[in-house]
Symmetry: C2
Subunit: 336 residues, 2 copies
Amino acid sequence: MVINDEFYMQLCLNEAWKYQALTYPNPPVGALILDKHGNILSIEAHQEARQAHAELNAAIQAVIKLGDTKITKLPSPGEKHSYLCENYQNYFQGCTIYVTLEPCMHHGSTPPCSILIKSLGFTKVVIGTLDPNPMAKGGKQYLIEQNHEVLSGILQKECKQLLYPFIKWQMNKNFVFFKLAKFQNGTITGKHVSSLESRKLVHKIRTKIDLLVIGGDTVRNDRPTLDCRLVDSQKVPDILIITSDDNLDREIPLFKVPNRKVYIKNDFKLLENYKHIMIEGGEGMFVKSRDIVDFYLFFTSPKTKTGKTIQIDANLKSLHCFKNSSDTITWLENIR
Amino acid sequence: MVINDEFYMQLCLNEAWKYQALTYPNPPVGALILDKHGNILSIEAHQEARQAHAELNAAIQAVIKLGDTKITKLPSPGEKHSYLCENYQNYFQGCTIYVTLEPCMHHGSTPPCSILIKSLGFTKVVIGTLDPNPMAKGGKQYLIEQNHEVLSGILQKECKQLLYPFIKWQMNKNFVFFKLAKFQNGTITGKHVSSLESRKLVHKIRTKIDLLVIGGDTVRNDRPTLDCRLVDSQKVPDILIITSDDNLDREIPLFKVPNRKVYIKNDFKLLENYKHIMIEGGEGMFVKSRDIVDFYLFFTSPKTKTGKTIQIDANLKSLHCFKNSSDTITWLENIR
């Protein structure tokens, strides 16, 4: 295996994909810091909006690894950013930072990452792909002007794939992904197909999406609640039930969850009003939604089970896979 | 993500799993070298029997990275081993080598890896699991006696899982794995379910196994050749066709491949005479072989397709998954 820029960028990608769908409205981003000898100090990702960006998380973990005990006590990303700029001015001379996305140049919940990289004095900055966000871009140009050695386009295709949902949001479009839990042989029926860890991740994703789409039959047969109880969150998405037949039992818990709207429609027009949308369902919903889905998110249990499978021809492209406790998680792109 | 011994051992494991089933009768092993500053010099694996062990491959790549151009010109692993011992005596002082399996202490196709590690002067040796092979073990004890800092048991469970086939061979038992190509929705029918890269890997595996088991219906319906043409190899495994009905067309190419025996039996007794056995088949063979299979090897295409799936309840455990071009490869353990 060749140990080069692509190798380190892949480690950034692996970390960032763990947070795909969780960072809305921000992009998932991974970052890695090498010290001046090439020793890995940290590999971190942006985990959720209003929290530290990947570069800041990587810098925080790097100074913790170097023995700093104070930084963990600071409450906000902004304070950690300031603390680093004040206490580690040019400390990272000779060091390299890898980041899947061009470091931001704007003040959001945190000050710009490009300023952080400049203050800490990183000699080399390796970027996967440039920022499509007109508000945040400009980091590469700024860092070149500040005399950093900047290399961009490393694993660019893979870094762009990671960024796909964000690119759609930036274009004021919605990002739609279809989540499916299945066994190794494709069976999708049965209670608790996925592990507890996988179901917790789904509940966490539900706290980040703004609309959850399901079919009428799922409501009638499974009588789900579709809340986020496994991660103890009160934040829940709105629900769109796709059905041509409005004979739904309004007394089930689904309709009683506070702070959300439940719509019952016969088409997907409502999706225009939302940005970050997950569809959960079986074969019927899979077929109905083929033309509007961007990504598929498959949770695959290691077991095989007798039962119903989805019988459809669909051309998908595998983007990333990783083990999540006992299950395998695969993100795929819908090739339309 | 915590950057520690487990992190580096996982990188060794990821590399080693790529060669699972290809190293017979040797174990798959991964190794990684950090220089004295913690910079990764190399991550390599043992790729096939009679070729360099993982530690030797890692040392070769490390000196190539450091600028050595001569070593690649040496033809055999033994000569490379000698060259390193002569030219890099104590050169790796301060450096660390990670290896999933205890470095060997015996002369096989190559001199002992423990001698190599001692000669090159690695300060620290981090071992995943100890060698179950009575002939090869003793490396850890030797390295401790030679005053190396030796740490063992890092990701021991995972390193043992990687080693499972080898442990069976050491006990003079056979290792049996079931290879299945499927689509994301479980469909197993259709021509070329897997990508060309995946089919090439299967042909390469066929050059390494000693027996390939298939069902009579596969022979009758698919009329396969079951050779290793995709990797241009003349080395082919013996074939066992499991069928209760001997009405097979002996004129198909399967029976014409040189240098192999073809058996037609109604049971698996013949497996006793073989050590490294792959089963290929569909639902019928999956059911028949449930009690004799150790591992499953699933090649999953990113697409979904209409067609037949395997309808069985089987308790499996996912060991490792990785992308192989467009497909996902998953190794699973049969929980019997």
